[in-house]
Each structure stands twice: as C-alpha cells, then as structure tokens.
Symmetry: C2
Subunit: 346 residues, 2 copies
C-alpha cells in the first residue's frame, strides 16, 4: 500500500488556520489505499521567543525524512525583520536546494481582479530559488554611524541558472502555447543579466518548439497589467520572481489564491509547498483568512509526488467553488475548507 | 534679462521626435524676457556605431556648463544591451550625482487605465539615483563556461540614503496628505534594508507632521494595482524605484505620460529631465510616439529652475488636453506638441 509522509510547518499568524484546511482537503482527496502520515514541526515566532531558535540542525535533519513539506506562513511583527525569513524560510529553501520556485497564476472564473476587462490570465512563473540577491552575501561596515556602508551581493552561477532555465523550457514545452519569457534587467545588471541571457539562448537551442522572448523586469510589470494574457511560462531570478509573483497574484484575484512550490526536481531533498501570502497577523484568529492558496499548494504537492489525478481534482474543485461563490456572503476559513473537502471527495 | 541655457540629448529611436515637441512647448511657455539657448549633443547609438564613444570626457565637461539637460531616450537593439545604458545614461546620472530620481504618477482625467474603477492616483516616487544595484559593482568569473559565477553588488551608504530620504520627507511635508512610504525588502536584504529603515526612522523624527509606513517591494506592487490611492510620496532604492515607476506609469495611463527628473538638489551639477519611456525603436519615425511624457518632463525642469508658474501652465495644459482628447482620432507626435504649445501660450 502507498504512503504519504508529510512534514507540516504551520508557522505564524494565519499559518495554522490555513494549513488545517489544506490537510483537511488532502485527507479528503487521497485514495483510500494511501496511508497519510503527518508530523507537525513547531517552528516560527513562538519557538524563537521561547528558545531563540529558528531552525535547529536536529529539526532540519528530521525534515529530510519526509516526502514533502507543507508550510503555512512565516513572520511576525514581534520578531525583528529578517530573523525568521532568513533563519527559517530561506534556510529551508537553500538547505533543501529548492531551485525551482514554481508559482502558477490563473484568473479563475468569478474572482475579482483589479484589471478592467478581465483578461484571460494563465501563466506560470519559474522563479530561481537558491541564488541571486537571496544568498545572504553582503554585510555592513560602521553600522549605525553616518559612515555606514551596506552591501548586498547577488550571486549567480551557470550551474544554478542553467538548471532552472532548463526546468522552465521543459514546462513551456509541455504546455499548449509553448512560450517562454526570460525576465531580467540585463541593460543594468550586465554581469548577471548576460549570464542569464546567454544560458537562456543556449538551452533554447535544445527546445526548437518553444518560442522565446526577453523582457526587462520594469517592462514586464507593465505587461502584467496591460497584457497579462501574453505570458505562458516566465523564468526569472529570485528577487524579480518575488516581486512579479506578488503582482501576478494581485491581478489574478489576490494573494488569497496564489499557490507555490519550492521544488527540488532531483528528489535529493523534500520539496516544500506554501501559499505565496504571508502570516497576516492582523487577521489571524478571525476566521477571515482564505485557505484556498494553501489548498492549491496541496495540489502542487500532490502533482509533484505523482498524484496527478488528485491534484487536478483539487484544482477543479477550487475552480467550481469560485464560480459558485457568492461575493455577498463571506465564508470563514473553515467553511471554505469544508466546502472544498466535500467537493474533492465526491 | 534672465536666461535658460539648456543641453539637449535627443538620443535614440523616438528620442529626437519627442524632444522636438518638448522644446516647442518650452519655447512657447517661457516668458518673453527669458533668453533660451539650447545646445544639442550627438550621443547615443549612432555616435557609438560611428566612433565607439558613449560619453567622452570633453562632452561630459561641456554638459556641466548648462542649467539643465533635456534627454529623449537612450538604447537601440543594434547596440549590445548595457553599453549605452551604462556608458551614457547611468554615467550621466552618476557623474552629475543625480541622487533624487523624481517620478510623479497621476491619473489624469479621461486617460485609459488598465485598472477597473479608475482609482484616484496622485503620488510621487523619489527613487534613489546613485547607489544600490546600479553602481556597476560586480563581475563575472570564468565567463561563458559552465563554471561561470556572476555577481552584482548593491552598494548603499548612510550618506547616500540619508540625503534622498531627507529630500522625500521634505516633499511629503509640503504636500497636503503628508504621507511617506518606504519601500524596500528588509526581510531578505537585511544589510541594505536595515540601513534604509534605520535612517528612514531617524530622519522621520525631524518631520513629526509626516505620517510614515513601510512596505516590502513585493507587497507594494500589490497595492499599486489594488489601492494606489493610498500612496502620497514613496521613497525607495534605485532598482525598486525602476520597477515600481514603470508599474506606476502603466496604471496611470501608460508610459506615454510618465515624466521624470534626475535631480541634483545641491545644484553642483545640472539636473537632467527625461521621459520614463525608452527609445521605442519599433515606432521611431512613424509619428506615433506620444511626446506628453517629455513635455511633462519639461515642466519638472522648469519647476526645478524656479519657473513654477510655467511648470503649472504645462501641467494644466496637459490635463486639459487629455480631458478633451478624443480616443477615436489618434494624433501624431507633432500634433500633440502643437496643441500643447498653443495651450501654454494662451
Ligand atoms: C517572506 C519572504 C522571505 C518571501 C520571499 O521573499 O521569498 C516571500 O515574500 C515569498 O515570496 O515567498
Ligand atoms: C534604460 C535604463 C537604464 C533605465 C533604468 O533602469 O534606470 C530606465 O529603465 C529608467 O527607468 O530610466
């Protein structure tokens, strides 16, 4: 009999609430013969306040023994900015070599978008997850004085860029439109930009069916709001991907629906799935959090582990649920989870 | 009698066409007693192809002798990406210490916006212009091989951040809403981010009337499309400012209307005014380029040099012109320039 051994990191703020709904839907959609085991990890702001730890080695080791990780949200105003982000979330992405940060964007029927004319949006951003300005290289000198100098170093390697670019070509090649756009800023960040562009062009020769183009990141934001339907697959650097995927979430109905996967395609380490949104401490505990992004992240998790039919069931359930949502009656976190759990079971 | 001694760099693509309209409107709006002198500098793609030069020292020296610089657009597909941007445009911004890159965003009446509901947008981005990831620090090792490493170093100094933050507080303090938002990514770029945040908080103590907040750059893009009316003045780093101002232009009717000033507030060097848009080689020579962004940049130039009434006349003329524009009949570059020249004269 098959099994699914999941690590769960609810994290901070609304993390706990949305993860509970994700697990509810997961339990409901899984075939009877699959044994689901979950282990919860107490990591995040509370743990840090209690012990000063963000991600101890023992926990990091233990996390390796799971098929995948489901994460809620990390970050709290009571913790200095960067401590949990760098010490926990990014540490996981880097330690488990999550070089494909996968973020699909789709405008579901009947969802609100700030864009007039409801363009037909259905693209996926392949964000590099282990390099760029996220490496933590940098420092500050004469900190806190009028003579302070602070640096941040974006580190980019042919090794790191080629593997994520290749993954993006594979995804583009498997989609009907077969279109791949590289986003960077190679007219200013010439060293990193030229590395990305050269590898993008070189790998492209192996994918003659994929049509390609290049956009500077500033220009890309324009197209995200004026012509988002032009995009199919986008590949980009860690920081540009961070910025673009929040914007993508905003134009496709908001951060309450945006799912993501931090994927290690080699399988050497477990991949990690999480909503794009943060811990939203202002609404934690109110039942106002939309768990849909987490539930869609569970679909990405299932697809990654080979449960394609179950992933599709979740995505179709969300689509149907949204189509029938009555904007006038707000549902609680729990009610949305319940509704989706019922739909995927049936 | 007063005089205005202007350097003009038409540059590439549509640069020549839009600058011609800017100068036409400038000549029309200036009081009779002001003697306008202009000197055109042949810089850009053609010069580079002819001589291999982007900005020779002699030209740089000569440019110092002007009250201000009006620039059209720089960049051409026939020139390797980065050569003209770094060697000419950014060289000017850095050599003349243009640390305030001023980019106002206003949704004029009757202009198309991709946003549903036409929110009331009227904010200004104060983008740092001489530091951050734009310094050209970085390099590449084993270039072109599978072992390549390419770095980009963002350099941030207390000196550089404090002066631009102070400028932004001054601007916020002089506006009715008195609101200033810092945009950075201090949960990941902790060294640069904390430098920015600490200085932002420290200088804020001198401006008790200005209300402040902080947004991560990814979250800021969300608000640009869901709630742009929340912004009054934004201060941010060079790269985030680049990205955000293109998005701001997109939501306020497009890059055809977005003006900018590269300002050295000390007056040690001439400030430079340019549309936010690029050289748009695809429409160069067709008469389709909208010169309004350049004409609004002329208004910023006039304001900077103390011609406040004339600046307002141009801005009111643009507003009135847009209000009466008939979307059905497209006007040429020249026709828009003529119409605005007539309006500001009357
Ligand atoms: C919380 C933060 C470190 C993170 C990031 O910048 O990657 C978040 O914004 C995201 O997009 O997952
Ligand atoms: C052309 C390019 C170097 C420039 C920049 O990145 O600053 C442009 O995008 C701008 O915003 O003025």
């Amino acid at each position: 009999s098959r099994s699914l051994n999941l690590a769960v990191i609810p994290g901070d703020g609304i993390g706990q609430e949305v993860v509970a709904q994700g697990l509810k839907v997961l339990a409901s959609v899984l075939p009877q013969d699959v044994k689901l085991e979950t282990k919860e990890y107490d990591l995040g702001a509370q743990r840090w306040h209690r012990t000063g730890e963000t991600l101890p080695d023992a926990e990091l080791d233990s996390l390796k023994n799971h098929d995948a990780i489901l994460l809620g949200a990390i970050g709290d105003p009571s913790v200095p900015s960067g401590v949990l982000e760098r010490g926990l979330l990014l540490k996981l992405r880097f330690a488990f070599d999550h070089y494909v940060n996968l973020r699909p964007s789709k405008l579901f029927p009947n969802t609100a978008t700030p864009l007039a004319g409801r363009p037909d949006i259905d693209f996926v951003v392949v964000r590099e997850g282990t390099e760029g300005p996220y490496t933590g290289n940098g420092g500050s000198l004469r900190t806190g004085t009028p003579a302070e100098v602070a640096t941040e170093v974006s580190v980019n390697t042919a090794y790191g860029v080629e593997r994520v670019v290749r993954d993006a070509y594979e995804r583009a090649d498997s989609r009907p439109r077969k279109k791949l756009t590289l986003v960077h800023k190679n007219n200013v960040l010439v060293y990193a930009g030229h590395l990305w562009k050269n590898i993008f062009d070189k790998v492209g020769q192996e994918y003659p069916e994929v049509s390609t183009d290049y956009l500077h990141v500033d220009a890309a934001t324009i197209f995200f709001v004026t012509q988002p339907e032009r995009f199919d697959v986008i590949v980009t650097d860690n920081l540009f991907g961070d910025i673009l995927t929040d914007l993508a979430a905003a134009v496709t109905g908001g951060i309450g629906l945006a799912a993501s996967g931090n994927i290690n395609p080699t399988g050497a380490f477990p991949s990690m799935f999480e909503p794009v949104h943060g811990s939203a401490p202002d609404i934690a505990g109110t039942g106002k959090a939309d768990p849909t992004a987490t539930i869609l992240s569970v679909a990405l998790l299932l697809r990654h582990l080979g449960f394609e039919a179950e992933a599709v069931r979740i995505e179709e359930a969300v689509s149907a649920d949204l189509a029938e949502r009555d904007g006038a009656t707000a549902r609680t976190t729990d009610q949305i989870g319940d509704a989706l759990a019922v739909r995927v079971a049936s």
